[in-house]
């Protein structure tokens, strides 16, 4: 019982079912929106979801790595905020943009590396360590400045305003290109490299991975470093999007990232899930916001309620599938 027959009489391996459900939901939401609202069913709407959520996509990719090993990273939102803050401050002091980006990425990766090392070597729960990391990064933001710092550097504004035409009145921003590159690179690492297999093995059972002689230490510290790096990159994309650095940017983004990963069918216990699912999860979250803005009369808090409901439905589905496959 490793396959499931779907109505189309195609046999699909069970591990793809959650991702397919998410994809089906995304298509259904898109179709429903297209029927209900005029001017909804265009390619640009989907591209807009990408444009508005490029940073979340990158952050969620990093989160996928961590969750696949069975860990969790609560610090991503504040690392994103710290990145916008550091970038804005350094640019204000007249630094040129490329070294700034390099430093920001380095800070994110080093923070992740540090948290990963503490989690692995001192055996403290990821939840607590990344929580401390979250306080640390937010605290650093407010230590730098409590006010919002505008960014007027020409390179950053170019990133913000450039439109890449795709033909047929459709366009994307450079951030989307970066996000897509990150997704492809991450998918390659996760599915075609030794490191990726170690990630799945560690998440499946750390004990077994250790007994098999896999480099568990390197893998665990590696995923947190990747998550830190992705958060910093997400922070850069957010500073392109917002053109400002602010300590209150991306409050609660860790929840959105975790929700996207869960809706994408990745198990929080680790060891099972796909990057494509995470991409679909981010798209579903983005589409909910789009639909609510199209509806016009619904207030913003309905977004949260809908995301909560969706989480509930997906977790219930996952539960059903995993319960059936165990039998």
């Amino acid at each position: 019982m490793t396959t499931l027959t779907v109505p189309g009489r195609v046999r699909v391996p069970r591990k793809y079912v959650p991702v397919l459900v998410t994809a089906g939901l995304f298509l259904a939401m898109f179709a429903a929106g297209g029927i209900r609202y005029e001017g909804f069913a265009t390619g640009q709407i989907i591209l807009n979801v990408f444009i508005d959520n490029a940073f979340l996509l990158v952050v969620a990719v990093g989160m996928t790595f961590v969750i696949l090993t069975g860990g969790i990273d609560l610090s991503v939102g504040s690392v994103v905020a710290l990145s916008t803050m550091v970038a804005a401050t350094l640019l204000k002091h007249g630094w040129s943009p490329w070294p700034v980006m390099l430093i920001v990425l380095l800070i994110g990766a080093v923070l992740g590396l540090g948290m990963g090392a503490i989690i692995h070597y001192f055996e403290i729960q990821p939840f607590i360590v990344t929580l401390a990391g979250m306080f640390l990064a937010r605290g650093l933001c407010f230590t730098i400045d409590t006010e919002s710092i505008p960014i007027d550097n020409s390179t950053f504004t170019a990133f913000a305003q450039t439109r890449i035409d795709l033909g047929g009145d459709m366009w994307i921003s450079p951030s989307v290109v970066i996000a897509v590159v990150v997704v492809i690179a991450a998918a390659y690492v996760l599915h075609y490299t030794r490191f990726g297999r170690n990630v799945y093995a560690t998440g499946g059972s750390e004990q077994s991975a250790l007994l098999m002689g896999l480099p568990v230490a390197r893998t665990k510290i590696g995923v947190y470093t990747i998550s830190g790096f992705c958060s910093a990159l997400g922070g850069l994309l957010l500073s392109f999007y917002m053109l400002s650095g602010y300590g209150l940017h991306a409050v609660g983004m860790e929840l959105d990232a975790i929700a996207a990963v869960v809706i994408g069918g990745t198990l929080l216990t680790g060891g099972s899930g796909f990057l494509l699912g995470t991409v679909l999860g981010v798209l579903v979250l983005g589409l909910i916001q789009t639909i609510i803005s199209f509806e016009g009369t619904l207030s913003s808090w309905w977004t949260r309620i809908f995301i909560g409901l969706l989480l509930f439905v997906f977790i219930l589905l996952q539960r059903l599938f995993s319960a059936r496959s165990r039998r």
Binding site: Y121, P126, F127, F135, L136, R138, G139, L255, S299, I315
Partner: protein
């Protein structure tokens, strides 16, 4: 000397106590009369009382969280429950013809607490009935709950002017702030239920191994649902306190991140996230450390925006000191007499 100090050094609550005392002494250096408690207008005043008073909601939430964590669960939704309960109570009171009527306030409080119980039971059912991982099961309510709270307040901040309601979070009774009395009552009740009756033992056994407890004839599901309901009730009371203290309900910001503070308090207090044992005293100590830290930062004149930085620092230090792996690596287990009690067998680690 070492032999004399040994039992103290090995006590679970040794490091938290050291940190708390250290923080208090630090205050003494920077603030005159820090330990001074005086009577003014029949009310107790003083920095120590303030720490208790402002820390009361956190202590309450942490108490509930302790029991949940003892069953190897976690409840991320307490912040949302805090917001919902405050919002609902304030909404009903603002609809009252006479906001000072005790009956009206009592019924508002009752309805708010009832809703908290329902929300807690929902969490418990998801965890015990459906079998969802606690962290995700409560994530649902954490995300949706903020939306619900804003739905109740319609995105506004509801302000009320009700003296009976004000008593809960900002009033005094028998010279003591009423919030402290509530905390002591809840603490005493919890301690009685868990340490004098079998409930505590049941909770610990479920936390140790839920399946084994079920086979041993313990109603694991009922125990789990009970602790989540209790946790939400505590959060609901804390929500009433917070909204009553400022006489308003803010669906967006009330109780924001209190779940993280509460989990920290529990962990600092020596209750492991993997469950199986818990320490109520440790939790109170942990919550007091967090509150004292905040007070200290204000009193020694560090810019308030660096509060989080200090919090991160203290959390890291406390957690590192409590981590057996850290102590083994850094102190090389120098003080280890031959006849030392065997280290408790380590459970299969559950990443939270």
């Amino acid at each position: 000397m070492t032999a004399f100090l040994g039992p103290f050094l090995r006590h679970r609550l040794f490091w938290p106590v050291v940190i708390l005392v250290g923080l208090l002494l630090l205050n003494l250096v920077f603030t005159d009369n820090f330990f001074h408690v005086e009577m003014k207008d029949d009310h107790l005043y003083g920095s120590l009382i303030d720490i208790f008073r402002f820390g009361a909601p956190l202590i309450l939430v942490s108490l509930g969280m302790t029991l949940v964590i003892a069953t190897s669960g976690i409840d991320l939704s307490v912040g949302s429950v805090v917001a919902i309960s405050g919002a609902l109570a304030c909404l009903q009171i603002s609809d009252l013809g006479n906001q000072n009527s005790v009956g009206g306030v009592l019924s508002a409080v009752g309805v708010a607490l009832l809703l908290s119980l329902v929300l807690g039971a929902w969490n418990g059912l998801l965890v015990a009935g459906v079998g969802i991982q606690p962290i995700i099961a409560t994530l649902i309510l954490m995300v949706a709950g903020r939306g619900l709270a804003q739905l109740i307040t319609q995105g506004q901040i509801i302000t009320i002017n009700s003296s009976p309601y004000k008593l809960i979070g900002g009033g005094y009774w028998l010279t003591v702030p009423f919030g402290i009395i509530i905390v002591i009552a809840v603490l005493a009740l919890t301690a009685f239920l868990t340490r004098r009756l079998a409930l505590g033992l049941l909770i610990e056994s479920v936390g140790g191994n839920a399946e084994a407890s079920r086979l041993a004839g313990i109603g694991s599901r009922a125990v789990i649902i009970t602790v989540y309901t209790f946790c939400a009730l505590c959060a609901g009371i804390a929500g009433l306190m917070i909204s009553s203290n400022v006489s308003s309900a803010d669906g967006n910001n009330a109780g924001l991140w209190i779940e993280l503070d509460a989990i920290l308090a529990v962990v600092i207090g020596g209750t492991p996230l993997s469950g199986g044992r818990f320490s109520l005293g440790g939790t109170v100590l942990g919550a007091l450390i967090i509150q004292t830290l905040t007070t200290t930062i204000y009193s020694i004149g560090v810019p308030p925006q660096t509060t989080l930085l200090f919090k991160a620092l203290v959390v890291t230090i406390v957690c590192l000191l409590q981590s057996p792996a850290f102590r083994a690596k850094v102190f090389h287990r120098r003080r280890r007499p031959a006849g030392a009690p065997p280290v408790a067998e380590e459970k299969v680690r559950v990443s939270a």
